[in-house]
């Protein structure tokens, strides 16, 4: 536990240093800061706009906007929640102002394979992969039926594993409300999965 705590402190201190350097205009530091967070930003945006092109545009706009505004961020501890808020706002703006045709997802759902790869392997692993695909697809379809706020909370908490306090800061609500809404979002997802089934 002690080593984990020390590692977290070191990591936090590294992040603080990267934020400090990036705020002074060091683009390389900002790149180092944003690289491990880019997928999170993208998934957050995707959970709002629901398609890859708009999610990519919103993520780009948010990350560049965060770069522009970073010198005016006084509390480095607030960086994670602040970045989440910028992404959420950019995605919401994108959804309001753009009308795009719904995309058809053609990419494989599994890394290193996908449904067709699983079908080509008549072994136990292929069966397990098929189950995973079916499960992920069912969850995905149910997820798409949820309200935007519920999708955001599920992504931040279950996928990105962000702390409740940070989620509360990102969405501008109390920690207790986050707990309550998470409970509601999980129930909604369960109901949606039952409906999909």
């Amino acid at each position: 536990v002690g080593s984990i705590a020390i590692a977290e402190r070191v990591s936090a201190s590294d992040t603080d240093e990267l934020i400090r350097r990036a705020a002074l205009g060091d683009a390389a530091a900002y790149d180092e800061l944003i690289t491990p967070r880019l997928d999170r930003c993208y998934r957050l945006a995707y959970s709002i706009v629901g398609n890859r092109a708009d999610a990519a545009d919103a993520t780009q706009e948010a990350v560049v906007s965060a770069w522009r505004q970073l010198p005016r961020l006084r509390e480095q501890r607030a960086f994670e929640g602040w970045l989440n808020r910028i992404v959420v706002n950019a995605a919401r703006m994108s959804r309001r102002h753009r009308v795009r045709l719904r995309e058809v997802q053609v990419e494989p759902l599994l890394s290193g394979g996908g449904p067709s790869a699983a079908l080509d392997r008549p072994d136990q692993q292929a069966g397990m992969d098929l189950e995973r695909v079916a499960s992920a697809e069912a969850i995905g379809r149910a997820f798409a039926r949820l309200r935007e706020d519920d999708r955001l909370l599920l992504v931040l908490h279950h996928v990105e594993e962000r702390p409740l306090a940070e989620i509360a800061g990102s969405l501008g609500i109390a920690v207790g409300t986050v707990k309550w809404r998470l409970h509601r979002a999980r129930n909604a997802l369960e109901r949606a999965m039952e409906a999909e089934a």
Partner: protein, 256 residues
């Protein structure tokens, strides 16, 4: 006990499978745009915090500035008042006598003139007196269930819902006769987390439901029960002809 975490892990894994990751081209595009985008530099200013990029910090600073402004205004008014008292007292203008010169009410613990707010808002609410009168119910519906609140600024573990059925008396059924808000009521404990009170208020049946999450602290539960114990009714012109007044003992409660 391990069912829930396992289900949550499965849920998280499923969502991770479903949600896409950013393609490498996006990262390249961002790098290219950042290379040509200048940063907004904060100009030195005593009010620099008002331009903080973090909305929360900016709002906090604005609130602080507003409080300082209010304090300054009060101080100036106090100083001006003191100076006026010390100066030559001008002849008072002739005015009609005030209609009443009653003394201000004393600040007793249960001050009958204390302000009574409506239903708690979705944001933070100060401790004090609040009320529910069913005014937000749909007029065409005899059933009203808008009274939801929980201790969202505390643990978020307990919630209270108030609903009313117009013109329906208490039927039979199980329960313990009690008195709530000065009216006959039936108390039922549905399970170890849920309690309900059915209160016979004139022509309406009011139901109060208290629900607690597993592991709720006894302090949270006691606070929720204290809110229900504090209830009283007052005649009003609302849809039910009365309102339920209650006291929130802390600022943890909201309807979010």
């Amino acid at each position: 006990m391990t069912g829930r975490p396992s289900a949550e892990r499965q849920l998280a894994a499923g969502l991770r499978e479903y949600l896409p990751v950013a393609d490498p081209g996006l990262h390249q595009r961002i790098r290219a745009e950042i290379a040509t985008t200048p940063q907004d530099r904060r100009r030195p200013s005593i009010l620099g915090r008002l331009a903080d990029a973090d909305q929360t910090a900016r709002r906090r600073t604005l609130l602080l500035v507003a409080l300082l402004g209010a304090a300054l205004t009060i101080s100036v008014a106090a100083v001006a008042g003191a100076l006026l008292r010390e100066g030559p007292r001008p002849e008072p203008p002739v005015q009609p006598a005030p209609a009443s010169l009653e003394p201000a009410p004393s600040s007793a613990a249960e001050d009958p003139s204390a302000p009574i707010s409506g239903w708690p808002s979705t944001s933070k609410n100060e401790a004090g007196l609040y009320s529910w009168d069913g005014a937000r119910c749909a007029s065409s519906s005899p059933y009203c269930n808008v009274g939801f609140m929980h201790n969202g600024y505390g643990s978020g573990d307990v919630d209270i819902r108030i609903a009313a059925y117009q013109g329906k008396p208490i039927g039979g059924g199980e329960g313990v006769p009690v008195t709530i808000a000065g009216h006959d009521a039936i108390h039922r404990r549905i399970n170890d987390r849920v309690q309900e009170w059915f209160v016979d208020v004139d022509t309406a049946l009011v139901t109060i439901r208290l629900e607690a999450e597993p592991g709720t602290s006894s302090a949270d539960l006691a606070e929720a029960e204290a809110i229900i114990s504090s209830m009283r009714t007052e005649a009003t012109g609302g849809p039910f002809g009365f309102r339920i007044v209650f006291r929130l003992p802390s600022d943890d409660w909201d309807s979010g």
